[in-house]
């Protein structure tokens, strides 16, 4: 398998292919069992059964009770409901939220909105590997701290946070703990009890499920209010007629995670480590971003000195390899990603970052193909680069 490979997808942190089994599970719910779960007739009953059976599958995948799982329109909405819903409900307890500087915009922008309506937010720094310090968290806690929201694993560099300890520390201070597990779900075993989690966000399209569906786990008894009002679906927390095909697909994807996860982790880790090692060995002035071991089993993030990330992504795309970069150039204020900047990666490296994110479908053949292409591709761009200095 070399030239006959048409396209290789290594951007699974952006989104994933929907598993065939997921598609097949969803299909009847478009044109045969298309009822509204609120209806009293048999169509309604079919929808309700599918809804509740999917809820059980999602609950099982994270070690929760089914009644603690609320379906949403995705990771962004789950994060919004968690942060806004908890802060608005608990105004009498306090107005302070603690998060990190490397969260996804779905958390960061929500925090910025909360600041505009009077809440106070602490953005914890991270170390060079992208890890939040427990001492910093401890120091940031006040008697007004209601919620701590720290992502389980970062979408760009794949760094895994010590969420179990963060959860325990939050609880010691009487705060609730939310974690954005959109990237870690399906790559790391998650148990909401073991990890001291009160609220957890997950998303369907990152785990071979459909787009536009996600879930929020809310520990029973957690004070929270809706941010969308309507017909009272999802026990009043998220009104709107349930997206049954999406929910069924997400449920199936979760079932597959529950059965596949151990095997998937082993195979993705092997590919990840071979990609990292071979690239670092074959291309000089190259550095791994993030933590060598506290890292998502599917994440490779490497900086190539003096190479602009987007040019590299375009070169790869021309050979049929889909990857992404942490640098985004917009007129006049080109900056590296907030994640790499928070990790104090120097500009010349941060602007040359490349992310490969694997899925359980990637193969060693694909990795070998990529490893053949990368060194000459990087060299070509370096030969053109005004920042490259051959030693």
């Amino acid at each position: 398998m070399t030239s006959e490979i048409d396209r290789i997808y290594l951007d699974n942190s952006a989104t994933t292919a929907v598993d065939r089994k997921v598609i097949n599970a969803m299909l009847p719910f478009f044109d045969v069992k298309y009822g509204n779960a609120s209806s009293l007739h048999s169509f309604g009953k079919e929808a309700t059964d599918a809804l509740e059976s999917s809820r059980r599958k999602v609950a099982t995948a994270v070690g929760a009770m089914p009644k603690e799982v609320y379906f949403t329109a995705g990771g962004t909405e789950s994060n919004n409901i968690a942060l806004q819903g908890v802060m608005l409900k608990n105004k009498s307890r306090g107005n302070h939220i603690i998060t990190s500087s490397i969260e996804h915009p779905a958390v960061l922008e929500t925090c910025e909105f909360l600041e505009t309506i009077g809440f106070e937010v602490t953005y914890l720094p991270v170390d060079k590997m992208g890890i939040v310090s427990l001492d910093d968290l401890d120091g940031a806690m006040t008697d007004k701290t209601v919620l701590v929201s720290i992502m389980h694993a970062n979408n760009e560099v794949g760094t895994i946070q010590p969420i179990r300890e963060i959860g325990a520390l939050s609880h010691e201070h009487g705060a609730l703990f939310h974690t954005d597990a959109v990237q870690s779900f399906g790559k790391i075993p998650i148990d909401v009890e073991y990890n001291n989690i009160d609220l957890l966000s997950i998303s369907g399209h990152k785990v071979h499920g459909p787009k536009g569906i996600g879930a929020l786990y809310v520990r029973e008894g957690t004070p929270i209010q809706p941010i969308i009002y309507g017909g009272g679906h999802e026990r009043g927390l998220r009104s709107s007629t349930e997206n049954i095909p999406g929910i069924v697909g997400f449920g199936k994807a979760c079932e597959l995670i529950s059965t596949h996860l151990d095997k998937d982790i082993i195979s993705m880790t092997k590919l990840r480590d071979s990609l990292i090692k071979e690239i670092l060995d074959s291309v000089p002035k190259t550095k791994l971003n993030g933590h060598p071991t506290k890292r998502l089993c599917n994440n490779v993030n490497i900086s190539f000195e003096a190479v602009e990330g987007e040019a590299l992504v375009l070169s790869l795309d021309r050979t049929g390899i889909a990857a992404s970069t942490g640098s985004a150039c917009s007129s006049k204020n080109f900056t590296a990603s907030h994640v790499l900047l928070s990790m104090k990666i120097p500009d010349i490296m941060a602007l040359g970052s490349l992310r490969f994110s694997l899925s359980r479908y990637n193969t060693q053949d694909e990795i070998s193909y990529i490893l053949d292409k990368i060194p000459p591709m990087v060299q070509r761009l370096r030969d053109m680069s005004s920042l490259w200095k051959e030693e």
Binding site: E308, S331, S386
Partner: protein, 124 residues
Amino acid sequence: MGFEFNEKVIDHFENPRNVGELEDADIVETVGSPVCGDMLTLYIKLKDGKVNDVKFKTFGCGAAIATSSLFTELIKGKTIEEALKVTSDVVVDVIGGLPEKKVHCSLLAPDAFKQAIEKYKEKQ
């Protein structure tokens, strides 16, 4: 998003003309900085009021590489006055258009040239 580059842009990206340095350049001019992300160095050789030779190196995206390549092609052999008329608008036009967000990348090379000539004239 997705890259929406036409074949001419891709051609100049994959086979850029006039990449490199000129050891006997009359003017070497750098614009941009690694902090703002885009950086380009032009090496220019003048003869009888004309652009005798020109080469470039850039730390920039695909569009920056492609438009800089085309720019060098367009100004080579032209008089300084003619070359100064090759603005980024001209480059974008000749290359057959760029996605809105990538138009600014075409400013690098013309800016560097303009700046280079201004400095050169001051010195004369």
